[in-house]
């Protein structure tokens, strides 16, 4: 092992002000291995990566890379030394082409001055071919699906002759098929002797492709295990100190004759083809499908966030006219976006301000906002939903993903929304907070709220839904009751292309 160790990080300390982000953390990586870095959000995984790549300066400790002690001052230095990162958040220039993005900073030049797109286009095609993928190198990155953009990011990392490639939650926005492609790429890289650091929350992936796992908790090193010799429960225990079960639901928990609170008829837009469905009171209706199947688009149409071409929406049996989000909110619909930071919360504002955002009118007396009452109400939600924050005044950007999500839930509860659309409710949320969100959702439907849950995680869909709608290419392909639904069945319908025969 020692001979082919390419990276060793020892006793890494890092503090931000008074907050200790890393304490005596160690990490070791061998050539040609896939090494998972696991831990709940806030465990320090990202900070460790940032210390390695020179985004943050460590306070103390040693980093030995390729036999020498190193200290990268800038990301560029670590990149030049052969350490690439595929970030969770995409860093793409949307208006540049695929090839221009991949070769940014390393353009081919004619006469040492003029850029030569022809050459980088050729190189791009070759790179994608290496991994059996087709791409139009001249396509603007902004026109690609998120999944494809992620592939471009990965190819970019690979193209830098990296010795170490760090994947930070690479599959968060990929379809099952794309994940398979990714795993092939990783296998391929591994065979070439590239060392891979793989950060993910998804157990199935960890067990599928990693060789070893380093677990962190609260900025500290917890332990290192061989993937083959561990179990999911052991890992979760190491991460959180408690066991979380992910058992599928057995039967619907909602009465078949429960009243229909939301009825969507023949909804159409440029991304959605003729979608109709009913949502019952107290029901969790799961929306499954691959990335780009049109699930988020349906949600946004119902919520009035995008204009619809045609279709009708009935709420409690009455036709509703929803032209903008404001209308939907007035009808008691709340939307929890898949992209919290961009669409769900105001990161620069505090907990109370976020909680009362849609219902501010309730707290105005003689035109003046009653901040005291707002804080009292927020305190109540902080207690009820167990939101971890030191005060109602804390800015949302300082909360973890799970707690941010709870603030969004509080926001819609405060507005008495009866229909909640959860779009990827647990994306980027750690295991512990995940099960809290689940039990919160179950409590909500018990209280008579109705939930539409969009999720790309099949385990989540099967665990939470009373009924499942499977979408593909903008169409509703199949409606499954929870009794008959299995991962295989859902996948079957989710990949039912238009021309293919859909076995009903």
């Amino acid at each position: 092992m020692d001979n082919n160790t390419i990276l060793e990080m020892k006793d890494i300390d890092k503090s931000f002000g008074v907050v200790k982000a890393l304490e005596k953390v160690k990490f070791e990586l061998a050539q040609g291995e896939v090494h998972a870095l696991m831990g709940e959000n806030g465990a320090g995984k990202s900070t460790l990566v940032k210390v390695l790549t020179g985004i943050h300066e460590k306070d103390s400790g040693r980093i030995i890379y390729d036999g020498n002690e190193v200290e990268f001052k800038k990301p560029k230095e670590s990149q030049d030394a052969g350490i690439s990162v595929v970030h969770q958040e995409l860093n793409m220039m949307n208006h540049l082409t695929v090839a221009q993005n991949i070769f940014i900073g390393r353009e081919s030049l004619k006469a040492k001055f003029f850029t030569d797109d022809h050459e980088i286009n050729e190189k791009t095609i070759e790179l994608f071919k290496m991994f059996n993928m087709d791409v139009n190198p001249k396509e603007k990155v902004g026109n690609l699906t998120v999944g494809k953009q992620q592939m471009v990011e990965i190819i970019k990392a690979v193209s830098m002759d990296a010795k170490i490639v760090i994947f930070d939650e690479p599959t968060a926005s990929l379809t099952e098929k794309e994940i398979d492609e990714l795993f092939k790429i990783i296998e391929n890289m591994k065979n070439k002797g590239i060392a891979i650091v793989y950060i993910s929350h998804r157990m199935d992936e960890i067990f599928k492709i990693t060789d070893r796992i380093t677990i962190m908790r609260d900025g500290e090193y917890v332990g290192k295990v061989d993937t083959k010799e561990t179990t999911k429960d052991e890992l979760i225990n190491m991460m959180v100190g408690r066991v979380v079960y992910e058992d599928p639901k057995q039967e619907p928990e909602v009465d078949e004759n429960a009243e229909v609170v939301l009825s969507v008829k023949n909804l159409r837009s440029k991304d959605v083809e003729d979608v109709s469905f009913d949502l019952r009171k107290g029901e969790i209706l799961g929306f499954s499908g691959l990335m780009g199947a049109g699930r988020t688009e349906v949600a946004r149409l119902i919520f009035g966030a995008d204009p619809k071409d045609s279709g009708e929406i009935y709420i409690n049996g009455k036709k509703a006219s929803i032209m903008k989000p404001q209308d939907a909110v007035n009808y008691g619909i709340g939307y929890l976006s898949e992209d919290r930071k961009q669409f769900g919360i105001i990161t620069g504002m505090n907990v109370s301000d976020n909680v009362v955002q849609p219902s501010l009118n309730k707290y105005i007396k003689n035109m003046i906002i009653d901040d005291k009452r707002i804080e009292e109400v927020s305190e109540k939600y902080i207690a009820d939903l167990k939101i971890k924050t030191d005060s109602t005044r804390q800015l949302l950007r300082n909360l973890s993903g799970g707690n941010q999500q709870k603030v969004v839930i509080a926001k819609w509860l405060e507005h008495n929304s009866d229909i909640l659309i959860f779009d990827e409710p647990t994306r980027g949320i750690d295991v512990g907070a995940k099960s809290e969100i689940y039990s919160l959702m179950n409590e909500l439907v018990k209280e008579g709220k109705s939930i539409i849950m969009i999720s790309s995680e099949l385990t989540e869909i099967l665990r939470m839904s009373d009924r499942i709608i499977v979408m593909c290419e903008g169409r509703k392909v199949k409606e499954l009751s929870i009794e008959e639904a299995t991962q295989e069945k859902i996948l079957h319908y989710a990949t039912a292309r238009k021309e293919g025969d859909i076995v009903g």
């Binding site: 903008k324 404001q326 007035n330 105001i346 301000d353 955002q357 906002i369 901040d371």
Partner: protein, 324 residues
């Protein structure tokens, strides 16, 4: 105990904030001039500093609202002049002074509404939309006044009462209290009402605000209307201070006002800002403008030095923010 902590935290925030640095800078600059020049230490000088602060102060307070939404209003300088000129023409045509003053504010508000609609409804970039209205206002003032200067009544003349809004007959600079009154009102609107809360929210994240069911177009428009109304008020202050208004002027004042806003710690990228900071920022510039001649630097040095102050202010702000 808890209160004590809260206080400590508040103090920490104040000390760390640009507002506090701006106050320190203002005091330091004032003391510097006071030490350097004996004649600077007179009430006349103080009154000149106030005089120089009124119209820029109103402009700056108004545009603070727009800047917090993440937008910009370049039209305020010429809108101020245009409102004042049209007001002057109306007055010369026989409109009573009280109505003239209301008209001046209304004209400013109308330009603000135009800006707001262009930006919020028709989705023009704020820079371009208000650049357009900046030119329109400048042209309109000249058209309506027929490229003639207009003169408001002098102190003591019939209908000359408006002058006393900013300086009493015994020379007492009452205007400073008017400015403070409007600043306090603006601060209440910004921090304690729905308008203000949504303006901050839009500046922090427009789309998330919209998806919370907030009518972002309406509130964004209102921010520009407020900016326009304050440009109108600034027009009154300008007329009261300088009496004669020349057509085609006013361009450049918006930049002084925006500089004041930024020196006061309001972020040009939106979501962060305060009226208090803006007022301090404006006074820093006025003290420089009035004080420099006392140390034998001609007024044009003011531009040069204000530029340096602006860059230092923004640099400190950027550095502070990156630390977070």
């Amino acid at each position: 105990m808890g209160d004590n902590n809260g206080l400590k935290q508040t103090m920490g925030n104040v000390v760390g904030s640009q507002k506090f640095i701006a106050v320190l800078a203002l005091v330091a600059i004032y003391i510097f001039f006071a030490i350097s020049s004996e004649s600077f230490r007179s009430t006349d000088t103080l009154v000149s500093i106030f005089d120089a602060s009124y119209y820029i102060g109103f402009l700056a307070i108004g545009v603070t609202f727009v800047i917090i939404t993440g937008g910009i209003d370049l039209s305020i300088g010429t809108v101020m002049m245009c409102s004042a000129i049209i007001g002057g023409v109306l007055f010369q045509m026989g409109m009573p002074m009280w109505l003239t003053l209301i008209m001046i504010i209304a004209i400013g508000g109308t330009f603000g509404l135009l800006n707001g609609l262009l930006v919020a409804r028709f989705k023009l970039p704020p820079f371009i939309a208000t650049l357009g209205t900046m030119m329109i206002a400048r042209g309109l003032g000249s058209i309506i006044s027929n490229v003639q200067s207009v003169t408001f009544p002098l102190r003591g003349a019939e209908e000359g009462f408006y002058k006393s809004i900013f300086r009493l007959d015994n020379n007492f600079p009452i205007g400073i209290f008017v400015l403070i009154l409007f600043a306090v009102l603006a601060a209440i609107v910004l921090n304690k009402t729905k308008v203000g809360r949504y303006i901050f929210s839009i500046g922090s994240n427009r789309e998330a605000t919209r998806l919370s069911g907030v009518d972002v177009n309406k509130w964004e428009t209102i921010a520009y209307v407020i900016s326009g109304l304050f440009a109108g008020i600034a027009g009154i202050a300008y007329a009261a201070t300088y009496t004669t208004i020349l057509p085609g002027e006013g361009a450049g004042f918006e930049l002084d006002a925006i500089a004041g806003v930024v020196i006061g710690g309001t972020s040009l990228s939106g979501g962060i800002g305060s009226i208090f900071g803006t007022v301090i920022g404006v006074f820093i510039m006025s003290v420089l403008k009035v004080g420099l001649p006392y140390i034998d630097l001609q007024p044009h040095y003011q531009l040069f030095i204000t530029g340096i102050v602006l860059i230092i202010a923004v640099y400190l702000d950027v550095r502070r923010r990156n630390k977070l």
